[in-house]
């Protein structure tokens, strides 16, 4: 008969053996297991998001007919406005293309716009990310910029079969080359440490000393277009203040981000038409 002490220790022994086996299995198996777990989890996330949308749909169904008619009119107006904007955009793009050809400038790299619903928003002190409902099935590449109505939303970090993870600009892991509106010198923007219930913030470094920020007149921070990932001119946030850094060469500052970032329901992924001209993130050697 086995001693009783061995029976008592069996769970710990099993756990140890499993941990040892996990430690010893090749990295490719681990990667596969992780990806499988992610893909297995994804349908659950998508279903949950679908249920939430259904709830919203039924909640809207309870509205009165007058409300729905008014909303319909607003939607029609917005559609008309966007239709007009789209026409103007087409004309401007054609004009831009003509001028580029005239000046022998390289053609605009161009993007394919892929709208995607947000499945889940995932915020913590260490990461700030979204999961969107499109993945390799829509040719979403890793590193693609993601935008929303207010400007830059973030960048695609991982791509699954049907979902993708977007690292938000409020995440400390995201950094991009920006410019202060009205200036052409690139500065470094990086997501900051974000409090659990506070407004999202980022930090900015290498701000030239002659860039002045006044308390009553904060300046917008825009993408520079020099980094090779984000197109130029997209709003990032507002530079609320900047103070001289100890190096005496630059200022460092704080950037207030759009509170709507934490409530996004839909984003647009900019899929480059010519991937070789836009750079993916540098892989760690």
């Amino acid at each position: 008969m086995r001693p009783q002490r061995f029976d008592q220790a069996r769970p710990f022994l099993t756990l140890g053996i499993v941990a040892l086996v996990w430690l010893l299995v090749p990295a490719v198996v681990k990667r596969f297991a992780r990806a499988s777990f992610y893909e297995l989890q994804a349908p659950g996330e998508v279903t949950a998001a679908g249920v939430r949308q259904l709830q919203e749909f039924w909640a809207l169904r309870t509205r009165s007919a007058d409300d729905l008619i008014a909303a319909g009119k607003q939607t029609a107006d917005a559609l008309a406005f966007y239709e007009l904007s789209a026409r103007q955009q087409e004309q401007l793009a054609a004009e831009n293309e003509r001028l580029r050809a005239l000046l022998n400038l390289p053609a605009d790299p161009g993007w394919h716009y892929e709208q995607a619903r947000v499945v889940r928003r995932d915020f913590s002190a260490w990461w700030q990310q979204l999961i969107i409902r499109k993945g390799t099935d829509y040719h979403i590449p890793v590193g693609a910029p993601v935008v929303y109505a207010g400007g830059v939303a973030g960048r695609v970090r991982e791509v699954g079969a049907h979902t993708s993870v977007v690292e938000l600009i409020s995440s400390p892991g995201l950094r991009l080359a920006a410019v202060v509106e009205g200036d052409t010198r690139p500065v470094s923007y990086q997501g900051g440490e974000n409090p659990a219930f506070g407004a999202s913030r980022g930090t900015v470094e290498y701000v030239p000393l002659d860039v002045i920020t006044l308390i009553g007149a904060p300046r917008r921070l825009l993408t520079s277009g020099l980094g090779g990932v984000f197109p130029a001119g997209l709003p990032i946030g507002t530079l609320t203040h900047a103070e001289p850094a100890p190096d005496g060469l630059f200022k460092t500052g704080e950037v207030r981000l759009d509170p709507a970032l934490s409530e996004l329901t839909e984003v647009t992924v900019l899929v480059p038409l010519h991937p070789e001209e836009t750079a993916p993130p540098v892989p760690a050697p």
């Binding site: 400390p172 892991g173 995201l174 950094r175 991009l176 080359a177 010198r185 690139p186 470094s188 990086q190 290498y206 520079s224 020099l226 980094g227 090779g228 990932v229 984000f230 100890p246 190096d247 005496g248 060469l249 630059f250 001209e277 750079a279 993916p280 993130p281 540098v282 892989p283 760690a284 050697p285």
Partner: protein, 678 residues
């Protein structure tokens, strides 16, 4: 052996409860335990501080970062020397321990798998592993920057090993001098949490290139790149202990800069920033353990506001052009140096980040290191006649209304014929005013002979022409010469002749002065005093300088000034009163000046012009000395030096006028707060 007893069974053994041999063993054990406990107590209680200190020194490292240098401005706050960012990419080697080891294992296994007999040593394989890992990182940078047309950079294996051995805690600079586009691209494409990081270092910047190069000087990398592990006491750039503790720790320093010349060297202590940095705990292999135990931000050095005026300095340097010479302008009242130009110069931008051998050779070839304004020793030529005049007037040897000679172009002195080199003819009977204006040599030979050399020398020394000016620059010459018979006896071992007096009277012979000193003379004459203390530091509230008065009577001074004004209107510098051409007269500005043309036998001639203006309210004093291009060539002060002074004066006048027009018009002056006392 135990003895059997009668009452006990035969197999039963008895043992004494008390055995002296066991007791002895107990005693030995007790002594050993006591020794152990004593040793432990000695270590843990009595030696604990020493051991703690040793452990601290072994496991902690200090990294020092120099504070940025202060800026240098001109008197109107325009930047002359500052700092600019230099972007690069660094690799934190101390974060790659695992990668290095993994690569080492891979290399070792590879050698073993191939059965290679010539197996490298462990140290060699570790070195190869480090090179491979770092090369991979560098290649990723090359790939990222390739679309921007940046050529591929190769890894310097020796530099890498040196850095690894000596400065492991400091980031290794992989790529430097990134353009804004390259920097932006890396910012966006390098992962935020990567051992590769974009960083900005501070390098000295001279935005105005060659302007005031000799005054500003330059900086060079402090020669302290070595790790200070073995010589912590020699750590000369570390902050004082009360600011930055850990002076006894092994210290790694990022290279700072030190001033090597000019204001950068003279005010190095002021301009140097306070060193910052951090103290880290390190692993036994020397790799950093984050976060730092202590961290101190570097503090920028103090700024320096010089008295130079960028506009006037640029006017002087532009006007000097390709000529060899110098120009100095002073504020008459405060002695502040407005212009200190020396040509040929050099471009200070060539010194950042470091001066190339080719650029240094070029500077050497052109003789551009030499600051002619402060250290150039020239015979002052006819500008010295002002000293002769003052000495003669004070000695009563001449009077303003006595024509002491009839200039016929030559004068025989001591068996030699001395000529009048000015006026291209004969001045005839000439009075002091015209003698100054026309710079009649015959007049001043005679005046000098009447005055005696000792008196002239005494007067020149009263104006401190033989003394360093005390300007805030290192290495100002002390070799100026005001000769007299004693000086000649001592230095030349010869007697003084009348010809020496004649030569000295017109600033020739042995007399040697600097342009800076002649500018001080002009400023002193403008204030009717004997001395002017020049300064390169600007003080907006600087008081007017006051020194001993020259001692001329009002009539004598009036004639002196009339002669000097005559020089610029009808005399040797009448070119300044021309109505046409580039050198046309500056309207409404009366200039008192004196030209000089010093002839140095077998050497180049020197063209001089000293002046001050406006005559009725002097504000600016100038001295210009231009070396002739060829030996024996006539280089007249009025022709070569006066136009440079006029360029400075023209700019100065423009600024005065623009400042006057920009000044607010006070329509209703504020009444005094309290009524004036009755």
């Amino acid at each position: 052996m135990p003895r059997p007893t009668a009452n006990l069974p035969p197999e039963t053994h008895t043992q004494k409860a008390y055995n002296p041999r066991v007791l002895l063993f107990h005693g030995v054990v007790a002594i050993l335990l006591l020794t152990l406990a004593g040793g432990l107590a000695w270590r843990q209680l009595l030696r604990t501080d020493d051991d703690h200190e040793r452990e601290r020194r072994q496991s902690q490292r200090r990294v020092l970062v120099p504070g940025p240098r202060g800026n240098i401005f001109d008197r109107e706050g325009r930047l002359l020397a500052g700092n600019r960012a230099r972007f690069g990419v660094t690799l934190a080697l101390d974060e790659l321990h695992t990668k290095f080891h993994g690569q080492y294992v891979k290399i070792r296994d590879n050698y073993r798998a191939h059965g290679d007999k010539d197996l490298p040593t462990t140290a060699q394989m570790e070195q190869i592993a480090r090179f491979t890992v770092v090369q991979d990182y560098l290649q990723s940078i090359n790939d990222t920057l390739k679309p921007l047309g940046r050529p591929e950079q190769l890894l310097d294996g020796e530099a890498l090993e040196r850095h690894f051995e000596q400065q492991l805690l400091l980031p290794y600079l992989l790529v430097n001098d990134l353009t804004p586009s390259e920097y932006a691209r890396l910012i966006e494409q390098l992962p935020a949490a990567s051992p590769l990081q974009v960083y900005a270092s501070s390098v000295r910047s001279y935005p105005r290139g060659p302007l005031a190069a000799h005054v500003l000087g330059y900086v060079a990398a402090a020669d302290d790149a070595r790790p200070a592990d073995n010589h912590p006491d020699e750590d000369d750039t570390a902050a004082p202990p009360e600011i930055f503790p850990g002076a006894d720790l092994a210290t790694f320093k990022l290279k700072g800069t030190v001033g090597r010349l000019g204001l950068e060297a003279r005010f190095d202590d002021l301009l140097q920033g306070e060193t910052g940095g951090a103290i880290y705990r390190v692993s036994p292999a020397g790799y950093r353990i984050n976060p730092p135990l202590e961290k101190y931000a570097p503090v920028a050095g103090h700024d320096l506001t010089t008295s130079l005026d960028v506009d006037l300095q640029a006017a002087a340097e532009d006007s000097l052009g390709e000529q060899t010479g110098s120009a100095v302008a002073l504020d008459v009242n405060t002695g502040e140096v407005l212009v200190l130009a020396s040509a040929p110069g050099y471009n200070l931008q060539d010194f950042t980040p470091r001066l190339s051998n080719a650029a240094a050779a070029d500077i050497n070839t052109r003789g551009a290191w030499f600051d002619r304004a402060v250290n150039g020793l020239y015979p002052p030529g006819s500008t010295f006649k002002l000293i002769t005049t003052i000495a003669a007037l004070q000695a009563g040897a001449i009077t303003p209304d006595e024509p002491i000679v009839d200039c016929e172009g030559t004068l025989a002195i001591g068996g030699h014929v001395f000529t009048c080199d000015n006026g291209l003819g004969q001045h005839g009977e000439i009075l002091l005013r015209d003698a100054i204006a026309q710079s009649c040599d015959i007049y001043f030979y005679t005046a000098g002979l009447r005055t005696k050399p000792e008196v002239i020398a005494r007067e020149a020394r009263r104006f401190q022409l033989d003394q360093p000016s005390g300007l805030e620059l290192t290495g100002e010459t002390r070799r100026a010469i005001i000769p007299d018979p004693n000086w000649k006896k001592e230095h030349q071992h010869q007697d003084w002749y009348q010809g020496d007096t004649a030569n000295m009277s017109i600033g020739q012979g042995f007399v040697r002065v600097t342009p800076l000193r002649m500018a001080c003379l002009a400023a002193s004459l403008a204030r009717n005093e004997i001395a002017t203390t020049p300064t390169l530091l600007h003080n907006p509230n600087a008081p007017v300088q006051h020194h001993e008065a020259i001692g001329l009577t009002p009539e004598q001074r009036a004639v002196l000034l009339a002669g000097m004004e005559g020089c610029t209107t009808t005399g040797t510098a009448k070119i300044l009163s021309s109505d046409v051409g580039e050198l046309h007269k500056i309207p409404n500005l009366r200039i008192a000046g004196k030209t000089g043309t010093a002839q140095i036998p077998d050497k180049k001639n020197i063209a001089w012009f000293i002046c001050f203006a406006p005559l009725d309210n002097p504000r600016i004093a100038i001295a210009v000395a231009v070396e002739g291009e060829k030996s024996g060539e006539t280089t007249a002060g009025g022709q070569y030096a006066a136009p440079i002074a006029q360029a400075i004066l023209r700019k100065w006048n423009e600024k005065q006028l623009s400042q006057a027009s920009a000044a607010p018009v006070v329509l209703f002056p504020t009444p005094p707060a309290t009524p004036p006392a009755p």
